[in-house]
């Protein structure tokens, strides 16, 4: 069981993430969007969305710091385990709470604002369940660690080596298996989330427009060379009042 969870599942998820993203980028560029619902409702969005997004970005960088950077490196620059752990819990916890509050506002908004709820697909719902679960489980690990005080489990001796070993293609199943249950559950849900990622609206994160900072303001382009001759019609041409808008009759 351990071998499957920590030795096989990670690779399945990476395959799904990478393969799915390539496939989606290749075949569904038109569907690759944030699918913003700001036009329908902006009051709650203005609070919830930045809270969630800034929070999740901090959480992301926190994970990178905790999982990718070996403990020996932080030791080498003189950061003790206690200090590191305190910071991780403090800022990680804050960011996690921001993220959770943000996404709860967003889910509440999605459920209670008619047009936004109607624009919510089954796909979105599944994604929200996984995303909220992953966030809640992540906060749970933080809470348990805070509760345990100085005896808290040092995941940088179990989870992090395993995480790095996965990418070195020699998965260190044993060290991950030694981690407490909350880390196991959080990691599994996280892996599932990443496996599903390319097939949800979350793909918009992969096209975060950082190049905007560097590109020229005015874009010139020649007439489209790729669409020579007759081409299939693009999506976006369905009639007014399509099925999902009729749902409430």
């Amino acid at each position: 069981m351990n071998t499957f969870l920590w030795g096989v599942l990670p690779y399945l998820c990476v395959a799904s993430l990478v393969g799915g993203t390539v496939w989606r980028y290749r075949y569904d560029k038109f569907g690759w969007t944030t699918r913003s619902s700001q036009l329908y409702e902006s009051r709650l969005l203005r609070i919830g969305s930045p809270l969630f997004h800034v929070g999740i970005l901090l959480v992301f960088f926190g994970h990178v710091g905790g999982l990718v950077i070996p403990e020996s490196w932080t030791d080498a620059v003189g950061v003790s385990e206690g200090l590191y752990h305190f910071n991780a819990l403090l800022f990680g916890g804050l960011a996690g709470v921001c993220t959770l509050v943000g996404i709860l506002i967003l889910v509440y908004r999605r459920r209670t604002t008619g047009p936004v709820f109607m624009a919510t697909t089954k796909n979105d719902k599944l994604m929200y369940v996984l995303l909220v679960t992953a966030i809640v489980l992540g906060l749970w690990t933080t809470l348990v660690s805070v509760g345990a005080g100085s005896d808290a489990h040092n995941y940088r001796e179990t989870v992090s080596p395993w995480f790095r070993s996965v990418f070195l293609l020699r998965p260190d199943v044993a060290s991950m298996a030694a981690a407490p249950i909350q880390f196991h559950v959080h990691a599994i849900v996280g892996m599932l989330l990443f496996a599903l990622w390319p097939f949800t609206r979350l793909v918009h994160a992969f096209t975060a427009p950082l190049h905007y900072l560097f590109r020229p303001y005015i874009v010139y382009r020649s007439r489209d060379r790729q669409t020579s001759g007759n081409r299939a019609a693009r999506p976006g041409w369905s009639g007014v009042g399509t099925t999902d808008r009729d749902r409430r009759h």
């Binding site: 303001y217 009042g241 808008r245 009759h249």
Partner: protein, 572 residues
């Protein structure tokens, strides 16, 4: 100097009767789809009025267009690049649906399905957003013909500005009592600017300007729905398709323009007030012109960008920059260049936004003429008209805020030219000799004035639309030249894909291209199967011209001989 070509439009506002045909045909052609119910690539506003979306001209609220930094550089009014990216999670100043309107349909089904009863069934309005019953409270032209202006007239941002202006005392404020009202219509499409702020706002870089003809388009495959362009465009002519989650805008009907056809709005314009043609401009000087310190000089700066296609230097530079000779020829015959630069009667809309818009307007003289006629004056007499242009300050001030960033002298000059044309041509058409003093008074020769009259009043189709076609040797780049009648799944309906609305691969569709249809309509012979089997035994009845019986029109036709042989024999 880097010469680039730009398709431009001029609208002669004197001729607009506010019939909204342009809006309706445009909507039928481009935005009669789910997600674009509220989208009007072309809309017609009554001015004074709030416009669409409401009060879009109030850039203190909507932050559209460019502004100058204290060092004199151009900067997006909504903020720099970092600021834009920080606002990406919830676009700070995006118009809400309420600023447009909630699109609706009627529940026609009840009319058919209602059970027998004493009361007539009623088709209740249903929101196209929520699908629920709705109350219609606003639309794209709710204040048409000054409807409600006595209550809401002050909400027009220009009226508000004029009212707040220190130049006038309270007596002179813009009045909306019916007898003192002036009004005109302002049809608006995307300006296809030389310095578009929507493009500069797009984090993905999905909005681009075509090198060949300057048409500004949104690449639907690269748009990620960050919504910054909607804020960026000061004319609010980029709309968010709430179903596909992408930005959409007026395409200048590029598939039509590429084959030499006018845009749908121009072609169907009842008043024939639209002109299409080429501008040549110097792309190297656009940014400098847009950064002109004084707003009042922006119109002149923009005019200076336009290059004279008859100038040998320009011709040489254009050849160097790859502009084909027939395009140069079209540029020399361009009606928009003539109206904007030669006669100087067309003006850009809101030059103060610093986007260098390329849809120009001839300001209307008719509100002034109407006032004069209603007061019993001879509204075609030069002295009366010229005096009125001076005296009727409010219309001139209003037009100046629209077209010249407040420069009333430019507006007065243009109106005087129009008045001179009117007065001069009245003499001519009454069989009298034209008075040479009239064109002289506005600095024109009799010949020029007459040419301007030909272009503006006679306005032949071929003079109004001078559209060079995209090049045959580059035909493979064209989208509209192919002729394929293959179809598998019929016209492009799509359902929700697995990743949300409008995702998934495009369904193949056979839309007959314009060229194929035209060829059929203009060829002498009846539509028949080509030796290569182009029709493949199927006939699209929608495109059948009723001329002859192409193979496949009737099922089960014998392949050995024409089916009517059997019929003849049978009768015998």
């Amino acid at each position: 100097m880097r010469v680039m070509a730009q398709m431009g439009m001029v609208m002669n506002l004197d001729k607009c009767i506010g019939c909204h045909t342009c809006s309706v045909t445009c909507k039928q052609a481009w935005t009669n789809r789910a997600g674009t119910e509220y989208v009007w690539f072309n809309n017609v506003e009554t001015r004074p009025g709030q416009g669409y979306p409401r009060r879009y001209e109030d850039q203190e609220t909507w932050k559209g267009g460019w502004t100058l930094t204290h060092r004199g550089n151009l900067k997006l009014k909504a903020g720099g690049r970092v600021q834009k990216l920080l606002g990406i999670f919830a676009s700070p100043v995006q118009p809400k649906l309420a600023d447009y309107y909630e699109p609706w349909t009627y529940d026609y089904q009840t009319l058919i399905e209602a059970p027998l009863g004493d009361d007539f069934p009623v088709a209740r309005p249903k929101s196209l957003i929520t699908g629920e019953n709705t109350k219609i409270t606003w639309s794209a032209n709710w204040d048409d013909n000054l409807g409600g202006s006595s209550e809401m007239g002050h909400l027009d941002p220009i009226v508000a500005k004029l009212n707040a202006s220190v130049r006038r005392d309270s007596e002179e404020k813009v009045r909306f009592e019916l007898e003192k009202t002036f009004m005109f219509y302002l049809p608006r499409i995307c300006e296809h600017c030389l310095n578009p702020s929507c493009m500069a706002s797009c984090p993905s870089g999905a909005i681009y300007k075509r090198e060949e003809d300057g048409i500004v388009l949104v690449d639907q495959d690269r748009c990620r729905g960050w919504r910054q362009c909607i804020t960026g465009c000061p004319y609010k002519k980029i709309y968010f398709n709430h179903k596909s989650g992408k930005a959409e805008k007026c395409t200048f009907c590029y598939p039509r323009v590429e084959v030499g056809l006018p845009t749908v709005c121009s072609e169907t314009c009842v008043g024939r007030l639209r002109y299409l043609g080429l501008f040549l401009y110097d792309a190297d000087r656009v940014t400098a012109a847009a950064a002109t310190p004084d707003e009042g000089d922006l119109y002149e700066a923009q005019l200076d960008l336009l290059l004279d296609p008859s100038d040998p230097e320009v011709i040489a530079a254009a050849r160097r920059d790859g502009i084909p000779d027939d395009w140069m020829d079209a540029a020399r015959r361009s009606p928009v260049y003539a109206l904007a630069k030669t006669y100087r009667v067309a003006l850009p809309l809101h030059p103060e936004y610093r986007t260098m818009p390329m849809v120009w307007y001839v300001p209307p003289l008719s509100p002034i003429v109407d006032v004069l006629s209603s007061q019993g004056h001879d509204a075609e007499d030069r002295t009366v008209l010229f005096g009125a242009i001076e005296a009727l300050r409010i219309p001139v001030d209003y037009l100046a805020e629209l077209f010249t960033a407040g420069r009333t002298d430019i507006i007065t000059g243009v109106l005087q030219k129009l008045a001179a044309m009117r007065a001069y041509m009245r003499d001519v058409s009454l069989g009298r000799d034209g008075d040479p003093a009239i064109p002289e008074a506005v600095g024109m020769s009799e010949e020029t004035l007459y040419e301007m009259y030909r272009l503006m009043a006679i306005a032949k189709y071929a003079d109004r639309y001078v559209i060079p076609t995209a090049h045959v040797e580059r035909a493979h780049e064209l989208e509209e030249i192919g002729c394929s009648l293959d179809f598998d799944e019929g016209p492009g309906m799509y359902e929700s894909g697995p990743f949300g609305e409008a995702s998934g691969r495009p369904a193949p569709v056979a839309v007959e291209t314009f060229n194929a249809l035209k060829q059929r309509q203009t060829s002498d012979s009846a539509m028949t199967t080509t030796p290569s089997g182009g029709l493949r035994g199927r006939v699209n009845l929608l495109n059948w011209d009723g001329n002859g019986a192409p193979d496949g029109l009737f099922p089960g036709g014998s392949s050995d001989g024409p089916p009517d042989t059997a019929t003849t024999e049978g009768t015998r």
